[in-house]
């Protein structure tokens, strides 16, 4: 109850801040009320849903790849010091590149369309997931791994019953960021070569300076991302009991 209250309070504070911003720069931002109203009308309009569906499809694939790949990469690198030494700096360096510059390469490999968008989302999301998981695994108390060895658990068992639960808080943090960045990546992908999708809507809105649509899209994106993040946090609290 108190939690819900705090949450609402924070949203209110956010809106007040937003309103203040709006008053300071009406051209850059529409007011929260206006934006939410616009978001509502967009959510009801039949024109918007095909775009959402298009983005959702690409996002679903990208998320699957980013999370699956990120966890596989992060966990295995966390457990294997040698390969981590090899892969980690390379991973981060490539990640630090402005993604636009990878566009020609992505075009070459995936062509135009869905696969390119998925690829864009995946390369955005996979690294945070991997890095969080890797560091958490690396810092697992030694005695936990020893316990696993004494029980002669298989690699897979050790992974699923000790490593993953032990590293869960960090894994969840990685997933939370990964979820959001993957979404962003898909949107950016849609801005490069698109004919449909939320990214396309955003790009046109930015192009014609349709601030209401921009802000409304952002409200909708925020609702999705916050829900996902809250769900993951809830999951973390359920699964990982901490000291009170």
């Amino acid at each position: 109850m108190k939690r819900a209250l705090d949450f609402v309070l924070l949203i209110v504070v956010g809106f007040v801040f937003w309103e203040a911003m709006h008053l300071a720069a009406p051209f850059a931002l529409t007011s929260p009320v206006e934006s939410v109203a616009k978001a509502w009308s967009m959510a009801l309009s039949p024109v918007y849903w095909p775009h959402v569906a298009e983005t959702a499809k690409a996002f679903a694939y990208a998320l699957l790849l980013a999370v699956g790949g990120g966890l596989a990469l992060g966990l295995s690198l966390g457990l294997n010091r040698t390969s981590a030494e090899v892969a980690e700096p390379i991973m981060i360096s490539v990640y630090s590149l402005p993604k636009v510059t990878l566009y020609p390469v992505i075009l070459l490999v995936f062509g135009l369309g869905l696969p390119a968008k998925v690829a864009f989302g995946t390369i955005h999301g996979i690294i945070p997931v991997a890095i969080f998981a890797m560091n958490a695994v690396r810092n697992l108390p030694n005695v936990h791994l020893k316990t696993g060895r004494v029980l002669r658990l298989s690699r897979w068992q050790t992974l699923t019953t000790i490593v993953v639960p032990g590293a869960l808080p960090e894994i969840v943090s990685g997933l939370r960021i990964g979820f959001s960045v993957t979404l962003l990546g898909v949107l950016i992908g849609e801005m490069f070569a698109s004919q449909r999708g939320v990214g396309y809507v955003l790009m046109s809105a930015i192009g014609v300076h349709d601030v209401a649509t921009i802000m409304a899209s952002i409200v909708l994106l925020a609702i999705v991302a916050v829900s996902a993040s809250a769900f993951l946090l809830w999951l973390d609290h359920r699964l990982h009991h901490r000291a009170s």
Binding site: A25, P26, F27, A28, V47, Y103, P104, L107, L108, G111, L112, M191, F192, A193, S194, Q195, R196, Y200, V201, M203, S204, I206, G207, V208, H209, V211
Partner: protein, 289 residues
């Protein structure tokens, strides 16, 4: 299949394509065009054209030239938008700035470095012998915000954004009053594709030409079609289309080499191009008939 059009959904380069799809001009010609791929960057659009299964599209002339300078084998097969006259610089409604002369010594925004707006602004300064402090805003919206915040005194805007801000902003100058026609965009394809698919390209160009004629003849219906495709306000689109018809914005495809040379001259001023462009090597007029 999809054609590629720069700034689709934003600027009205795409109006003829919207009409051609909607009115079935492509279908009549036996083409199955069901959509438009777009992006906002010149280089990106050019790359999309090359990567597409149908490597044909309308791109910024500057992007086409840049690509060719880097040795990409392209063919320009028709003219697109033949003027940059729809652009104008605006200031706040209550501003003291009234004419170009008032901009002397002031901060004025363009969109992004080496873009058409950058070039136009430089040419204006040259023409009127004034000195401005020009800054990159990052986009139309950002420029307008800067004007509003008094960070700059003027920023560029164009159709179809202009009718939307017309009440809040007032024009300082229109390009159409100041500079000659400059070809903004052209239809391109890869040389390789052109070799094997001459017929198809010809049909594409013809369908567009028919659509352009339709636009000039039926502004109202065009506005309806474009508003639907762009998911925009029909009134504003109609106002813009009328503005654009007045300056004969869309070319029916015929090349106007003076307008193209004007553009190259502008690009030379901002240092985008050095030396002449030999049109005969890259322009192929054979698809116009």
């Amino acid at each position: 299949e999809q054609v590629t059009v720069t700034h689709w959904g934003v600027l009205l380069y795409g109006a003829p394509y919207a009409v051609a799809i909607d009115k079935g001009f492509y279908k009549e010609a036996g083409l199955d065009i069901d959509g438009v791929i777009t992006s906002a960057g010149g280089g990106t659009t050019m790359r999309n054209v090359m990567a597409s299964s149908l490597p044909y599209g309308e791109v910024a002339l500057s992007a086409a030239i840049a690509a060719m300078k880097q040795g990409i084998d392209l063919k320009i097969i028709h003219a697109g938008v033949r003027t940059a006259g729809e652009q104008l610089w605006v200031t706040t409604a209550d501003s003291e700035i009234k004419s170009i002369k008032d901009l002397d010594g002031k901060k004025v925004a363009f969109t992004s470095p080496k873009s058409v707006t950058d070039m136009l602004l430089t040419m204006i300064a040259d023409k009127h012998h004034i000195k401005m402090q020009t800054v990159a805003a990052g986009g139309i919206g950002a420029g307008l915000t800067m004007v509003e915040q008094k960070a700059v005194v003027a920023a560029p805007v164009m159709d179809p954004i202009w009718p939307k801000v017309q009440g809040k902003m007032k024009p300082v100058f229109f390009i159409k009053d100041e500079l000659p026609n400059m070809m903004q965009s052209v239809g391109v394809t890869t040389a390789e594709y052109a070799k094997a698919n001459g017929d198809k390209l010809r049909k594409l160009v013809q369908a567009r030409k028919k659509a352009v004629e339709f636009v000039y003849a039926n502004p109202e219906e065009t506005a309806k079609i474009v508003a639907k495709r762009y998911n925009a306000d029909e009134k504003i689109i109609l106002a813009s289309i009328k503005n654009l018809i007045a300056i004969k914005y869309w070319s029916d495809g015929e090349f106007e080499f003076d307008a193209m040379d004007n553009m190259v001259k502008g690009l030379q001023i901002v240092g985008e191009v050095d030396g002449k462009v030999d049109w005969s090597k890259i322009v192929d007029t054979s698809y116009l008939k």
